[in-house]
């Protein structure tokens, strides 16, 4: 008798989880009805795309995504954000799980083989973050005798190793927070990745005054909005929205609001190059 109860419970749980996963998969269809739009963003990058503890979304990418969605005809409450980690962005787009992705998504040829881009809407550069009292690191050559930290697998880490400072003692960790902890405790001397992300971390309340950006331009990272390959209609609509955003001043406002607190000197808005 007891066994029977257990098996009933198991069946109940299994069918429940099936029902739940069926709900989860429905996101993309809603987008097609013109009811809701699902947008992929990063959840873990302060200043660019961050899900705060009370469930709100902030950051420059989020502001751009909201503006574009508005121009596409979706009001604020019709937007649904979905986490798009770097390794999953292309699949989320080509499976139709998201309408587009705006998440520090650098335009490059390998990615263009899988998805189309609109934009670029922002030109970021690889930069260095050091302790506020650091004076010995002013150019990239200084790194060769220093301990450097970045995130496992990131383009920035590979750039350092292959081109910028091959002799630097590079440590690659799972997340930027681990690197920041090391920087604070002086087990590393500098943290490198896109300046936008560094600025976001430096501007966080608990980090204010502890770190500074060196302000180098070690690479060009044109951020684009990723969308389904061949969807020229959506691409030109998003491009039009981005152009409008730059013209009416909302672009500058979003930059100042999200990246201003860390003294990040952003490049002027880049020209739209990804056209059909």
């Amino acid at each position: 008798m007891k066994l029977r109860k257990v098996s009933t419970a198991v069946v109940a749980v299994a069918s429940l989880s099936l029902a739940l996963s069926a709900c989860g998969g429905g996101g993309a269809d809603k987008g097609k009805d013109g009811d809701k739009i699902v947008i992929g963003i990063k959840y873990d990058q302060p200043g660019m795309g961050l899900k705060t503890q009370d469930g709100k979304f902030t950051g420059f990418d989020v502001d751009v995504a909201r503006y574009v969605a508005k121009e596409l005809g979706y009001s604020e409450d019709k937007i649904e954000f979905k986490q798009a980690p770097s390794a999953e962005r292309e699949n989320l787009i080509s499976n139709g799980d998201v309408k587009f992705v705006a998440g520090t998504y650098t335009i490059n040829d390998k990615r263009k083989a899988k998805v189309d881009f609109a934009g670029p809407y922002f030109m970021a550069h690889q930069d260095l973050l050091v302790r506020a009292d650091e004076t010995t690191i002013t150019k990239v050559e200084d790194l060769n005798s220093k301990k450097l930290c970045s995130v496992t697998g990131s383009t920035s880490a590979q750039n350092v190793k292959e081109k910028l400072a091959p002799k630097a003692d590079l440590q690659t960790l799972g997340g930027y927070s681990e690197c920041l902890n090391g920087l604070e405790n002086k087990t590393v001397d500098a943290l490198t990745t896109d300046g936008t992300i560094l600025a976001g971390y430096a501007a966080q309340k608990e980090n204010q005054g502890k770190f500074k950006l060196v302000g180098l331009k070690l690479s060009d990272e044109p951020y684009g909005i990723g969308l389904k390959k061949g969807d020229k209609d959506l691409q030109s609509k998003i491009n039009a929205a981005l152009e409008k955003m730059q013209k009416d001043g909302s672009w500058q406002k979003a930059v100042d609001a999200n990246l201003g607190p860390a003294n990040y000197k952003a490049d002027p808005a880049p020209a739209i190059t990804e056209k059909g």
Binding site: S86, A87, E90, N91, K110, R111, A113, K114, K147, T152, G153, S154, T155, Q158, D169, L170, Q171, T172, L173, G174, E178, N181, G182, N185, T187, V188
Partner: protein
Amino acid sequence: MFDFLSSGRYDLLGAFWVTVQLTLYSAVGSLIWGTLLAGMRVSPVPLMRGFGTAYVNLVRNTPLTIIMVGSLLGLYQTLGFKLGADLSADIGFRLAVLAMVAYTGTFVCEALRSGINTVPVGQAEAARAMGLSFVQVLTLIVLPQAFRSVVAPLANVLIALTKNTTVASAIGVAEASFLMKNMVENETDALFAVFALIALGFIVLTLPTGLLLGWVSKRVAVKR
């Protein structure tokens, strides 16, 4: 599809060599630590028994990622233990081995303890009647038989250990999954090929381990 391999940018064998090294060092370390723990758990001293039980239950129920990242943040970054190395890569490797030994030792201990239970009580009693001390009973009579009966479960632990080494990429050890993360970042157009390649690499490592140790376990089993 696999043309990214010929670009010369990725050292696949080198990465798997690090995985193998990580596995071997951790395997030896956790075998020793696990045996010590098992000894403590069956010892007549209440304090040692208590420590062994508490340690095993605490550590084996903690996710490996937390132990791994905790050793980096706590031991290295905050307390400054470098484990005798200077380069970040070496420090990361040694920390990873330390974390793996601390974690896997608990599973070795429990496998071994089940082996100890297969040795008839009469043998330990007979040995004690002859005047052997606890350490002598354990090392001369009980453990040699216990080890022979737990080769198969220990092979399980070793295979799990091999795959658990991928967690070390979280603290920057350049093993196979670390390379995979680099490939995923660069080779967006061949994601499935990358995953398949790394998975194949691990099968090449673990399948022979399982077959070999399965054969060994049959050979050395105590016939009762």
